[in-house]
């Protein structure tokens, strides 16, 4: 009887161990080898973006370019980048009026009268590609990750669609793609920047308000820009290591 139990345990243990090992090995086989990109070294880059509030005119080109380039659903609640319009009354700084009709995709309706002491400005937003991303931290299966070159990406073939990352992002940058039922977000046009191009939103911006920057590149003008301007990130109290730097960001912006 004891012998039987022992051999049963031994065989079961072997079976579990071997099938486990085999399935892990098979997963690696299925994953295949990643595409070779001989001219791009992950460790040579640390991507981010600089946004100049004073230069943004709220045309919505970036939103349209992003949706077109990345096949982002055109419906409500699906934006990899969007533009907000702030109206801040100098007598009531705590209560800014904000709108972002269709994420700024169609531009903004003209403001007839804002009152004399109201400042109006636009804030383009996108994933901050945080160095300590709360969204990456919470993903239960590791489907979303920070790439070595500083971009937060989602493996859509792995995402289970639990939406925890959407909850964890303090900036509202994530959504669920209704076609795939997986998490979706800005990839910083990873398919472009790894080939030496800039992002679609930066490419389409008529005023150069958005600039893709490589913080690891000593020749990138971002170093000079950050040295000479007071830049801020959104919600610094969240300590997420956000890498989208705003020049001229008003304290009213959330």
């Amino acid at each position: 009887m004891i012998e039987d139990r022992r051999s049963f345990l031994r065989d079961t243990g072997r079976f579990l161990l071997l099938t486990g090992a085999a399935s892990i090995a098979w997963e690696h086989v299925l994953a295949g080898t990643p595409d070779a990109s001989p001219n791009y070294a992950l460790t040579d880059h640390w991507w981010g973006m600089v946004i100049d509030i004073d230069t943004c005119i709220g045309c919505g080109n970036c939103v349209r370019a992003c949706k077109a380039e990345n096949d982002v659903p055109l419906e409500e609640g699906a934006f990899r980048t969007w533009v907000e319009r702030y109206q801040v009354d100098t007598n009531d700084l705590d209560h800014p009026r904000v709108d972002s009709p269709n994420g700024g995709y169609d531009g903004f309706p003209e403001l007839r009268s804002t009152g004399e002491n109201v400042k109006v400005f636009f804030v383009p937003k996108l994933c901050n590609h945080c160095a300590h991303s709360p969204c990456v931290q919470v993903c239960p299966v590791g489907a979303t990750f920070e790439s070595p070159d500083g971009v937060v990406l989602v493996d859509k073939s792995y995402c289970i669609g639990c939406r925890y990352c959407v909850q964890a992002c303090p900036y509202g940058c994530r959504f669920i793609d209704p076609r795939t039922m997986t998490a979706d977000k800005c990839t910083l046009c990873y398919h472009r920047i790894t080939k030496g191009l800039t992002t679609a939103c930066c490419e389409a911006c008529p005023t150069g308000a958005r600039q893709l920057v490589d913080l690891k590149n000593p020749k990138d003008p971002v170093h000079e820009f950050i040295r000479t301007h007071a830049v801020h990130v959104l919600k610094p109290q969240m300590a997420t290591g956000a890498k989208v730097y705003y020049n001229g960001l008003d304290g009213a912006v959330r």
Binding site: E76, E84, D99, V141, G142, G161, G172, I176, M181, T182
Partner: protein, 399 residues
């Protein structure tokens, strides 16, 4: 936009977690609470609650079996949920759910129930024939030894399992609280009190449920309710309820007094969209009222009949209150924008994958499972397995 007030981020239009995610902490809370009630008898030697010991274990099991279903139904890709076991992400609070769940189900609950029922299962196998006998053979796992020394070993293992089970039950539900409490992006959730509040509310709901089930089932069997047992359970319900309520009020007071950047938005939400479910249902009807009723029983001497009625009422109200608490945490935490400049609303639809219908079905299902369990493994001292509702007259058949 319909349902939206003020400004919300464009991606916040859709509420991410539905009523199914409300069920998840509600159901696991019932499991943890029921188990802790069972452990009162076994580990803390409160023998007077023994009539509910097995019922509490079976209730915990019935609800635990259902606990992962609302999650599965909610996932965008349920077929990939196995990845949580295969490639768990170490930094994710949610990744541990599968392991905590399996540990609790297999290492604690199922084992404890098996050891507790082993003697009866063996006896039932010996006295039955055909298919029934086969079923019991499987359930006994081929073990036929029920002499005194074997039963002593069972008893000792059962005790050890309960000792392990208490921290496990705490882990199970405290952990569920951590899933919410650790989201720093959401000020309505982000508090270290969350796991503890979840734990005590779990105990309240679990104890209330077992108390109600014991009353209902005993009545249905035409037996007499053991009043000392019921009084004791109600007293424990009262105590845990006081702790739970104090913790929740501490959280509220802290928020009001600190009044940080999120306070205005949350305060507005509690006074508008959450007024009915939070203030009225959760706090007044679901907490204060049952607390007053339970306190009244402690202070005034009432007839057994009156006490039973008050217990039934306060137990039901407690369950409603705890459900409202889960609702207010999960849904309430998504009604305000993370910009603190606006609000959205939640519309509960009826017959969709995450609608009211599956939610109700998932709440009824554990009772169906419990009914089957109670039939197959009678938790009563006067009934043996395999001899459904036949009263055994010779001696003690209980553990």
């Amino acid at each position: 936009m319909p349902g939206v007030e003020g400004f919300i981020y464009p991606n916040e239009i859709e509420l991410q977690w539905s009523v199914l995610i409300v069920l998840y902490p509600f159901i696991t809370g019932l499991v943890a609470g029921a188990f802790i009630l069972a452990s009162l008898e076994r580990v803390f030697n409160v023998h007077v609650v023994k009539p509910t010991y097995r019922l509490a274990l079976l209730t915990a099991l019935a609800f635990l079996i259902v606990a992962p279903l609302p999650l599965q139904l909610h996932l965008g890709h349920p077929e990939r949920s196995i990845e949580m076991y295969l490639t768990p992400h170490r930094t994710s609070a949610m990744a541990m759910f599968g392991f905590v769940y399996l540990w609790y189900l297999m290492a604690v609950l199922v084992l404890e129930i098996w050891f507790d029922y082993r003697r009866e299962l063996v006896l039932a196998r010996r006295s039955s024939t055909g298919l029934r006998r086969m079923a019991y053979t499987v359930l006994t796992l081929g073990s036929d030894n029920i002499d005194a020394s074997a039963l002593r070993v069972d008893e000792r293992i059962g005790y050890a399992l309960t000792v392990v089970g208490i921290p496990s039950a705490f882990l199970l539900h405290g952990y569920v609280g951590f899933i919410f409490g650790s989201v720093k992006a959401n000020p309505w959730w982000s508090t270290p009190l969350m796991p503890i509040v979840f734990l005590f509310s779990a105990m309240v709901s679990g104890i209330a449920l077992v108390m109600l089930m014991y009353m209902a089932l005993t009545r249905a069997r035409g037996r007499v309710i053991d009043m000392p047992c019921l009084d004791t359970i109600a007293r424990y319900l009262f105590y845990t309820f006081i702790i739970d309520f104090s913790l929740e009020m501490l959280d509220l007071l802290h928020r009001i007094y600190e009044a940080d950047e999120s306070f205005r938005a949350l305060d507005f939400m509690v006074h508008t969209k959450l007024w009915v479910s939070h203030i009225l249902i959760q706090i007044v009807i679901g907490t204060l009222l049952p607390l007053v009723l339970l306190a009244a029983v402690q202070l005034v001497s009432l007839s057994e009949r009156a006490r039973r009625r008050l217990y039934a009422l306060s137990g039901t109200l407690a369950l409603i209150g705890i459900f409202a608490m889960r609702w207010n945490v999960v849904i309430g935490g998504q009604l305000f924008s993370k910009s603190f400049l606006g609000y959205t609303s939640y519309k509960l639809v009826f017959a969709t994958r995450e609608g009211l219908l599956p939610a109700v079905a998932l709440l009824v299902l554990p009772f169906a499972i419990l009914a089957a369990l109670v039939r197959f493994l009678p938790p009563w001292a006067d009934v043996q397995p395999g001899a459904a509702s036949i009263v055994v007259t010779h001696g003690d058949t209980g553990r």
